[in-house]
C-alpha cells in the first residue's frame, strides 16, 4: 500500500515519521520525498498488511500530517491521449504499460515521479490537484 503524506510548516520540525515507525514498529519504504522548511510531500510504501497500514496512517494523521492513499492521483484525459506510449518508456515502476494498442495506467504502482506527465507530447497526463 502506498500513501501520499503532506507536511505543513508546523510539523516539519518534528520527527513525526520516525516516531510513527518506532511506536508502531511498522516498516515503511520512502519512495519519493520533496521536503523543505515550509512543507513537503512524501510517498510511503507500507510493508505489511492492511492492519499495519491503518496503524501507521492513524499515527501520522494524529500528528497533523495529511495522509491519502496513493490511488488515482495521475489523471489521464482519455479524449486527449493518443495512446502512443511514450510514457511507458520513462515510467520507473511499470505503472504504465501498453495493452492491445492502449495505454494502461496502474495508479497503485505509481510513485508520482511525474516522468510521464513531463514527456506526454499532447499533455494528456496530470497530477491531481493538491498532491
Amino acid at each position: 500500500m502506498k500513501y501520499v503524506i503532506k507536511y505543513s510548516p508546523e510539523n516539519t520540525k518534528e520527527p513525526v515519521l520516525a516516531d510513527a515507525i518506532l511506536s508502531t514498529k511498522v516498516k515503511v519504504n520512502i519512495l519519493t520525498a520533496r521536503l523543505d522548511s515550509e512543507e513537503g510531500v512524501m510517498i510511503l510504501e507500507v510493508l505489511g498488511d492492511s492492519k499495519d497500514a491503518r496503524k501507521i496512517v492513524s499515527h501520522l494523521r494524529k500528528h497533523g500530517l495529511l495522509v491519502e492513499k496513493l490511488d488515482g492521483n495521475v489523471l489521464k484525459d482519455d479524449d486527449c491521449c493518443v495512446d502512443c506510449g511514450l510514457c511507458v518508456g520513462v515510467c520507473p515502476t511499470d505503472a504504465i504499460i501498453m495493452h492491445d494498442k492502449l495505454m494502461e495506467l496502474d495508479n497503485r504502482k505509481c510513485i508520482l515521479c511525474r516522468a510521464c506527465v513531463e514527456v506526454c507530447p499532447v499533455k494528456a497526463l496530470s497530477i491531481r490537484e493538491g498532491i
Binding site: 493518443v82 495512446d83 502512443c84 506510449g85 511514450l86 510514457c87 511507458v88 518508456g89 520513462v90 504499460i97 501498453m98 494498442k101 492502449l102 516522468a115 513531463e118 514527456v119 507530447p121 499532447v122 499533455k123
Partner: protein, 498 residues
C-alpha cells in the same frame, strides 16, 4: 491482372474486398499470392505520428486598406510571409514567441482544424498598392479563403530507433532518452506503415488519393530526403485543411526539443497482381531498423543494435546483457482506426482509388549537406600545454600556481597524469576560511571534460548546460592534453560566421 478502374467499379457496386495491412500476411500465406491477388482488391495501411515537415498554406483575403504582409504571427507563432500579399505558411515546428516549446505551429493547425479562433498579427513596410503597415485580427478556418495542409516530408517508411548510453538525460526529437540506456524510443508502425507495403512504388505515385488528417488528400511527389534504396522512403502530401479533423492532426510538444504535428495518414494499396499481394504481406519481423546511440551528437551515430519492428513493438529489446524497455512515438490505436476508416469510406462508396500520374523515384539517395566551412574540433582550438597541479599539492602551492599564471582555476591530476578534479580560486578561499587543507577534499571531482575530436558545437552546448566557462580536454586515458574556454569557442564562431 486487375486494373484500378476495375477495382473502382467493384467499389461502386459495393463488391470490393478491402482488408487491413495486418490481415494480409495470413491471407497470402494461406492462399498464396495468386489467389490472394484475385480475392483482395484493396489493402489499407495507416500511420499516426509526429511529422515535423508539415505545415499549412493559408490565404487570409485582403484587408481594407490592403496590406502586403511581411511578417505574420498566428497565436504568436511566426508564419512565413515571403509569398504574395496575404498568403502565409505556418510550419509545425515554429515555436510561440510567448509560450516557447509549449505551443507551436502544430498547435496552430490543430486549433484551426478544431474550429477554434486564432489571433493574427502582421506588419509590413507599406507600398503604394498595399499601404497598411499593421494588422491585428482574429480568424477561424471558415474565415480564410484556402487552407491547404502541405507537407513536404511525411510518412517515413521506417525510422531509426533511439537510445542514450551517456550519463545524462537527453531531450530529442525522438523523445526523452534516459541515461545509461534505460529506454528505447521508436517511431513508425511497421507492417501497417504505408510505404512498407509498396516499397517499389508500384502503386503509390503523384496523384495517389490517400487518407490525410481525416479527409481525402493526395500524394504530390516523393518527400524530401526520400531514400527508397535504404528503406527510408518518404512522400510529400497535400489536402484541404477545411475538410480535416483535429482527431487526426494534433499539435505536440516534445519536452526540451520543440513542437511538431501528429499527422494521420492512410494509403490504399490496390492489389493489382500477385507481386503487390506479396508486398502487402510484409510482417514486422521482416522490417529491420537500427537502434542508434543519441549520446553522440553527430550526423552518423553509432549503431547499438539492428532489430526488427517485431522486437520493438514487443516492449522489450535486449542489448548485451541489458533488457531495455521500448516505447512508441506513433499511435497504433489511431493507425488502426485510419485503416478501418478507409475501409468504411470505400464500403460507403465515398472513396475511390486514383491512377498515379507519375511514378516516384526508386533510386534517389539522401545526401549529406555540402558544407563550405566545416565546424572546428576543440582539439584545434585548445590551449596547450595545460597548467595542472598534482592532487598531493599543498593549497598554498596551488594558490601560487593560480596567481603566477593569472588563472582562476586549474585541473588537478594524479601521479599518472590523469585528471582527477578541478579547483578554483574560490574553492581555495572557502577551504582556507573553513580550515580545510587537503586538495582532494577541496577540489571538484566530478569534472566536465571533453575530447579533442569533438566539435566546438557539442562542447559549447556542454558548457552552457553546466553553466561553466571552460573544460579540460583529455585523451582516452583521461590525461589532460589541453583546455578550452567559452571565449575560445565564441572567437571561433565569429570566424565561421565571417
Amino acid at each position: 491482372m486487375k486494373s484500378i478502374a476495375e477495382i473502382n467499379e467493384k467499389i461502386r457496386r459495393g463488391e470490393a474486398v478491402i482488408v487491413r495491412a495486418d490481415e494480409m500476411p495470413e491471407i497470402v500465406s494461406k492462399k498464396g499470392p495468386e489467389k490472394a491477388a484475385e480475392k483482395v482488391d484493396v489493402v489499407t495501411t495507416g500511420t499516426f505520428g509526429a511529422m515535423c515537415s508539415s505545415g499549412a498554406f493559408l490565404n487570409l483575403g485582403h484587408s481594407d486598406p490592403p496590406i502586403k504582409i511581411q511578417k505574420a504571427w498566428l497565436n504568436d507563432v511566426e508564419a512565413y510571409a515571403g509569398l504574395a500579399a496575404v498568403d502565409l505558411y505556418v510550419g509545425a515546428t515554429e515555436l510561440s514567441t510567448e509560450k516557447g516549446m509549449d505551443y507551436g505551429g502544430g498547435h496552430v493547425i490543430e486549433d484551426l482544424v478544431a474550429g477554434r479562433s486564432v489571433d493574427v498579427k502582421a506588419k509590413s513596410y507599406g507600398t503604394d498598392c498595399y499601404p497598411a503597415k499593421y494588422l491585428e485580427t482574429t480568424i477561424t478556418l471558415d474565415d480564410v479563403n484556402q487552407a491547404m495542409l502541405f507537407n513536404p516530408r511525411n510518412n517515413y517508411q521506417r525510422y531509426n530507433a533511439a537510445a542514450n548510453t551517456s550519463e545524462r538525460t537527453l531531450y530529442t526529437y525522438m523523445g526523452t532518452l534516459l541515461p545509461n540506456m534505460r529506454n528505447i524510443n521508436y517511431a513508425g508502425t511497421g507492417e501497417i506503415s504505408p510505404l512498407n507495403n509498396d516499397p517499389e512504388y508500384l502503386t503509390i505515385g503523384t496523384g495517389t488519393r490517400i487518407f490525410l488528417g481525416g479527409a481525402q488528400g493526395y500524394v504530390i511527389s516523393e518527400g524530401t530526403q526520400h531514400s527508397p534504396k535504404t528503406g527510408f522512403g518518404t512522400i510529400a502530401v497535400s489536402g484541404d485543411l477545411k475538410e480535416m479533423s483535429a482527431k487526426y492532426l494534433r499539435g505536440v510538444s516534445m519536452k526540451q526539443y520543440g513542437t511538431s504535428l501528429l499527422v494521420g495518414i492512410g494509403v490504399p494499396i490496390p492489389v493489382l497482381n500477385p507481386k503487390i499481394a506479396k508486398c502487402t504481406a510484409i510482417q514486422n519481423p521482416d522490417i529491420r531498423t537500427n537502434i542508434l546511440d543519441y549520446s553522440v551528437p553527430r550526423r552518423t551515430r553509432p549503431v547499438l543494435k539492428n532489430v526488427s519492428y517485431d522486437e520493438l513493438i514487443s516492449g522489450k529489446v535486449s542489448i548485451g546483457d541489458k533488457t531495455v524497455k521500448t516505447a512508441s512515438m506513433s499511435s497504433f490505436r489511431i493507425s488502426y482506426e485510419i485503416m478501418e476508416k478507409m475501409r468504411e469510406w470505400m464500403e460507403a462508396k465515398e472513396f475511390y482509388l486514383t491512377e498515379p500520374v507519375r511514378r516516384l523515384p526508386r533510386d534517389t539517395v539522401f545526401n549529406p549537406m555540402r558544407q563550405k566551412k566545416k565546424s572546428t574540433t576543440v582539439g584545434k582550438l585548445m590551449s596547450k600545454p595545460v597548467i595542472t597541479v598534482n592532487v598531493k599539492s599543498k593549497l598554498n602551492a596551488v594558490s601560487l600556481v593560480l596567481v603566477e599564471n593569472n588563472i582562476d582555476q586549474v585541473p588537478v591530476i594524479d601521479d599518472d597524469g590523469r585528471l582527477v578534479g578541478i579547483v578554483t580560486a574560490w574553492d581555495i578561499t572557502k577551504a582556507t576560511a573553513e580550515n580545510r587543507r587537503k586538495l582532494s577534499e577541496v577540489m571538484t571531482s566530478n569534472v566536465i571534460m571533453s575530447k579533442e575530436g569533438e566539435f566546438i558545437d557539442e562542447v559549447s552546448r556542454r558548457l552552457e548546460k553546466h553553466k561553466i566557462n571552460s573544460t579540460p580536454i583529455v585523451d582516452d586515458e583521461r590525461r589532460v592534453i589541453g583546455i578550452i574556454t567559452l571565449s575560445d569557442i565564441n572567437k571561433a564562431y565569429r570566424g565561421l560566421n565571417k
